[in-house]
Subunit: 368 residues, 2 copies
């Protein structure tokens, strides 16, 4: 292998595929990036066996070849090189990196030992708008469970049925659903790990804006995201996702409409006192024109008032303030609607002007 | 106490004095900020007994008074309030904070328990240019020792003698000296802890640029920095500073002139391999037109070449790369001069175009 490429192209490609490289692993080969040079292209691959990322860059090729090279050290070196041409040449298992007056020699590993990315055929495929997918993930990813004891909840459900894509996240205390209408002949239902969704969202955010669409392919074991010339493959989570639709109440006793930012600011301020207290909760007292938000701790207390429009019964209900503020942060609409039944029933939060996003949160029992 | 002030003024004042508040202390009163309201002024004070910071803001005063309030919680609350008028009122030891529709009540502590800042009279005083002082500290602070076993070296020597101000830092392996000519009648010699210099430098960096001068006052125990309406008081380190002047060699066998940025980039790249190796060192081979910088580790090797102008003998000498790169980073001049005697003698680094800054670094013995 002997190639010449641009330092900037190589550095940015390493930054992308490095996200799939294990930092702690018992398999040293997984700490490396696979470099494969052929047909005027250098393909870089990182793979931690849960997620794999592949990126291609244009190069001048003198001799094709491949090697696995330490991801961390290779990345640090390429980033520090001047913005100029970089020559990579392989002799036995020694990779020589030359750029202007710098020369590094690094010991590589056998490319045949590197685990291949799973092949994902177009059994199910979907092309959709990058920005739309990005916003759908942002509105649901924060509600994914961190609890490794219930692995199926450490990812989001992606379900495409009758031209409606639903993305759903659940932890023990709350549930976020985002829906969008998509033109497609496919139908699928799969649970994608949080890490893959997070990495794909970062790749979309920094991707070429001229290209508005990207592609999702899947089998029953794996999902493949193709964003421009970057491929992200992830294993799917196995098992049955929770039947979430039946968790939504159908009738409400109290309905509130309120300015999103005002409610968010008040909840965030009240949370400062809540986290000093025993149960970490805030209390919402919902009255005809006003929500009063209060919290008490040994060191002090807080009282916040927010004007509202209200229909139905007055009630007092307690919440973990983070579960409220995280939902309010991802709602773009100026106004939100809150729906309540009793002080021990889940509350619904949704934008006032559309039905795309629905959030359910379980209250905290308050001492009297 | 009952006062009205602007949220922004109060928030920025808290940010400043908080730097002197203990986060871990056995004296709960030191976790607080002292608030003192009198004569249309609110004075805020933080004091961890090593360093104290005081800042005054203009307020509307309804009733004077004082209280000590939790620095962390008070800071978090004020930062989150809307940019509007804030009312602070004290009833017994309860401080009520009102702003628009928010109301917090916090339990305060007795202001008489708060340790007074030491009084620093104008025994020795010096007014000097803020920017000059800022750059002098930046060029020396990184060479202050972290070793608490030699407390005198955990600060910088500030010596004013015959209109020359010298700032000197030493750890076991290197020494940085910055000198400047200052118009002053004072003479002093004192050792100021790193933390005080660091905080003063941050305050200067964000201070009013229309006011170019600031003031230093000192006694034999304390130093007071007055930057605009902010006062920083620090205790001085006790003991005799190392007689550093005699550490500088007077004759050299090898003198090199080199582009500062080129040498810095090469040393930083070589350090990537050095830190993989056993002794963490880089080797400089100084020849007639070139320095070759090399380092070897099990995983690989590096070779960097930098063009130089050289007088005297060739030599090979080893260094901790961080000790070289930290000095090069604070030299503004385009070219630097390196002076060597032998491979076991200290090396001098200084700007090629002035004598204001001199840096001495001890080499690392290299295995053959």
């Amino acid at each position: 292998m002997k190639i010449i490429c641009k330092q900037k192209d190589l550095s940015s490609a390493i930054n992308i595929v490095q996200k799939a490289v294990s930092s702690r692993t018992t398999l040293p080969i997984l700490e490396g990036i696979l470099l494969e040079a052929y047909n005027s292209t250098l393909k870089l691959t990182g793979n931690d066996l849960n997620i794999g990322i592949e990126k291609k860059i244009d190069i001048d090729i003198i001799e094709p070849g491949s090697v696995v090279i330490s991801s961390r050290l290779f990345g640090e070196i390429i980033r520090k090189l001047p913005s100029s041409d970089v020559e990579l040449s392989l002799d036995d298992n020694k990779l020589t990196i030359k750029c202007e007056k710098s020369k590094f020699v690094l010991t590589g590993q056998d490319p045949l030992q590197f685990p291949e990315l799973p092949s994902v055929t177009d059994e199910n495929s979907l092309s959709m708008d990058k920005e739309l997918f990005n916003s759908m993930i942002k509105q649901t990813i924060f509600a994914i469970s961190q609890d490794e004891n219930r692995p199926i909840l450490t990812g989001s459900l992606l379900e495409l049925k009758d031209n409606v894509l639903s993305i759903v996240s659940i932890d023990g205390k709350r549930l976020a659903v985002r829906k969008a209408t998509i033109e497609s002949n496919s139908n699928f239902k799969m649970v994608v790990p949080a890490k893959a969704l997070n990495e794909v969202n970062k790749i979309i955010a920094s991707s070429n804006k001229d290209e508005s669409e990207f592609t999702i392919l899947s089998t029953d074991k794996h999902i493949l995201f193709e964003v421009d010339d970057i491929k992200v493959v992830s294993r799917l989570l196995e098992g049955e996702f929770i039947k979430y639709a039946q968790m939504f109440p159908t009738e409400f006793k109290t309905k509130v409409e309120v300015d999103t930012d005002e409610l968010l600011s008040s909840v965030e301020r009240a949370s400062l006192l809540a986290k000093e207290g025993k149960n970490g909760a805030i209390k919402l007292a919902v009255g005809p024109n006003m929500i009063e938000i209060t919290s008490n701790a040994e060191i002090g207390s807080v009282n916040e008032s927010v004007f509202i429009d209200m229909d139905g019964n007055e009630l007092e209900i307690g919440f973990n303030p983070r579960y409220i503020s995280e939902a309010l942060k991802v709602i773009d609409s100026e106004k939100v609607v809150l729906e309540f039944i009793t002080e021990v029933s889940p509350c619904i939060i949704k934008p006032a002007d559309n039905d795309n996003f629905t959030y359910l949160v379980v209250p905290v029992r308050m001492a009297n």
